[in-house]
Symmetry: C2
Subunit: 497 residues, 2 copies
Amino acid sequence: MSQTTEQKFMALLKEQASYGEAIGLMAWDMRTKAPKKGIDNRSEVLGVLSQKVHEIQTSDEMKSYIDELKGKVTNPVVQKSLEEAEEAYDKTAKIPTKEYREYVTLQSKAESMWAEAKENNDFESFRPYLEKLVEYNRRFADYWGYENHRYDALLHNYEPGVTVEVIDRVFPQVRQALTELLGKIQSAPNQPDPSVLKGQFPKEMQEKFSLEILKRMGYDFEAGRLDETVHPFAIGLNMNDVRVTTKYDESDFRTAVFGTIHEGGHALYEQNIDPKLAFTPLATGTSMGIHESQSLFWENFISRNEAFWENHYDLFKSFAPESFKDLPMDDFYRAINEVKPSLIRIEADELTYCLHIMVRYELEKALIGGEIEVKDLPQLWNEKMEEYLGVRPANDAEGVLQDIHWSGGDFGYFPSYALGYMYAAQFAYQMKNDLDIEAFIRAGDLEKIQQWLTKNIHQFGKMKKPLEILNDVTGEGLNPDYIIQYLTEKYKKIYQF
Amino acid sequence: MSQTTEQKFMALLKEQASYGEAIGLMAWDMRTKAPKKGIDNRSEVLGVLSQKVHEIQTSDEMKSYIDELKGKVTNPVVQKSLEEAEEAYDKTAKIPTKEYREYVTLQSKAESMWAEAKENNDFESFRPYLEKLVEYNRRFADYWGYENHRYDALLHNYEPGVTVEVIDRVFPQVRQALTELLGKIQSAPNQPDPSVLKGQFPKEMQEKFSLEILKRMGYDFEAGRLDETVHPFAIGLNMNDVRVTTKYDESDFRTAVFGTIHEGGHALYEQNIDPKLAFTPLATGTSMGIHESQSLFWENFISRNEAFWENHYDLFKSFAPESFKDLPMDDFYRAINEVKPSLIRIEADELTYCLHIMVRYELEKALIGGEIEVKDLPQLWNEKMEEYLGVRPANDAEGVLQDIHWSGGDFGYFPSYALGYMYAAQFAYQMKNDLDIEAFIRAGDLEKIQQWLTKNIHQFGKMKKPLEILNDVTGEGLNPDYIIQYLTEKYKKIYQF
């Protein structure tokens, strides 16, 4: 092995990461600051830079470094970077260039067709695009290869190591427990009253409270910032520039407050990756599921926890409108934890959320597996919603058309959300063994929690695969018992059944 | 000529422009929004993308297109783009790669050494770096070539067509007229009282007034935005995304108000370039001097004009602190036009500004010509300041070290500022022949003025060279009579001599 080749390889990865940071900044800017007339031009610029990243990823130069260095590298960062680069190279190399190009064109067209179809509640106009997207994804899965189920090849892109076999073992257990729990909740006499949360809550005050909570969580404002947007997200441009965005609804503070904490959880992950991974493909969260476990952990396990409000309710009231002044904390706490089956995933509560995911998982698995076709989707969607959640969409806009994912060809992504819940519950259980987490939450000492997450999860970036982290932290694999136990205990107390 | 080659050439320019837009956005972000800890990483990313632009500019691919297309192109946009690309290629190709690399390293080092030297008022610590920068620039000028004066080769980078011969014809006339005028102003009995402009002026109110004026100037907020920064600038990312920045001084509204109008003038230029020049090297202002003529036109000819305040003074007072309530407009107008020789260029008034530039021009011309050396600079600077402006710096921090330009190797840049004043006066004179400009200003109908500028100047971008625009608009070349006449009339009225 030539030392020079290793340096050249890492320099090429740095070049790639640099384009990635520029692309990330452009994306952030488009969604927060950019004037609307500049968007067309900017989209073309994004196209040029994305193409460049793709070219590097699939270049002969990259291939030659991979071939030359493979099996001859001792530095673990270089070794893991090599694995990532090889996987990215192979993934693209296996798809004929012509098909890849057609697919990229289809993706961008399909996304705008989806937006229109949703707007007009017109599934049929979107159907031909979705059919093609499914067709490409079936083919890509075959190119990439799999052992048992074709859908595994797609799952691998989002949650490497997790397969249909794993999911089909755990999802039904969770579903059964959740539907039972939901039945008990719905028939409990002691229902929370969410109307107590209403009240005109000025944006500026929501922002001040959100900023304060982010700070207490350990979010570093010298390495990040909070801005307003339409569809909130967090983005790591580099580990010292990780930005959070949020959306303010003056008639419902929950959107901004829990949304900011959720994105803040993502941001803490990206801010606390080991600096030695900078400018490598390892300098980001290891998977969609582990990332989601971090946002959900902060949003639900921390900020929808009773102990959290024991400490923060007075602070909250200092920013909140008058109407909260005499609202007892218990009423507030129970209201923010109301469980109510609904049609829209992104508005779902902590309990029913996973059921929304299961509907999507089962449909996309069957689609990719060839057991159902796109034309069957609307009806199957509605039937499953009724079966799992007891609600039935009145139209496709609030049914099968609600999410953007499939229109971008993102099949295999949805399970990450539910996996994130399960990981979060497993991490939370382990954290409680290590620290008196309730005491820290009650004391407002959230940084102790952040430090635990950094030590056990964040610092590694992509140095560990998702199930490797899970095993290292909890000593076991994916185990649905923890989420079931957590939700059961939580809602038993709130709904008193 | 192969059609395909032309398309490939334009695609390569588009790629280059795309990196340019990404670099521009990163620069804007670093100066307005980016968290401080992310700056180091971002600087590296900027380095990677800048290197990429340089590589494209000097690539064999670019060279082959230039050679193949030269003399065979009919489309004028392609033709002008080809000329720009060839000039950029030749300019870089003439410098040995090794020297270029050393120079880039020197530049970034010198800039931080200058900042430190200025901070510590220590010219000697900066001297060796400045000596090397001068040495490189002398050599580069020799590589690039010139007819009469070595300094012409550097001037060409900022103001193509303008030479030492041209400047040495006009600057002395202007200087003589300005110093005579300055004498009359200083001995006039009727001095304005700038203390009437004092008063705590909340930032938010300054911002509201600035936004309103920008809007009235015809600045399109759907293709731009206004943000806060430390050293204000305007930047065109693309012609539909041209951003203005400003700085608020709550004890002196002039910084933000006139600064915003100044940068707004630059921004209007970039917003109104013909869309067909998008993604070519022509989609920007044609030179530093013409650009400055636009900002100075709006800042001085419009917003320091009496008619402007006849219309806008009530609006201003609606945002201004109480202390302005009873201030007569005439006192206000005279105060914002106070002339007072000072040491710092960027704080200079409309009249003495050009004298600051002449000090710099004469010194850098002599430096590059080899008639003086860096060690002579501090004393010569102070002597010239005393001779031209009647003030002498007490130290080098407020003397020769005040400006950043030389530390970045920008020799030949300074004259653009004074040329901008002269161009602006020539344009203003012509505009008055075409429209009743005072009436439009008085009526607050500033868009008519903007439209004239777009029609005569903005739309062309780099399709015309600076002196070509000047000739097309005014029917003559650089003529200092106009600036002299304008300033004489203006100050005669204000100072009543």
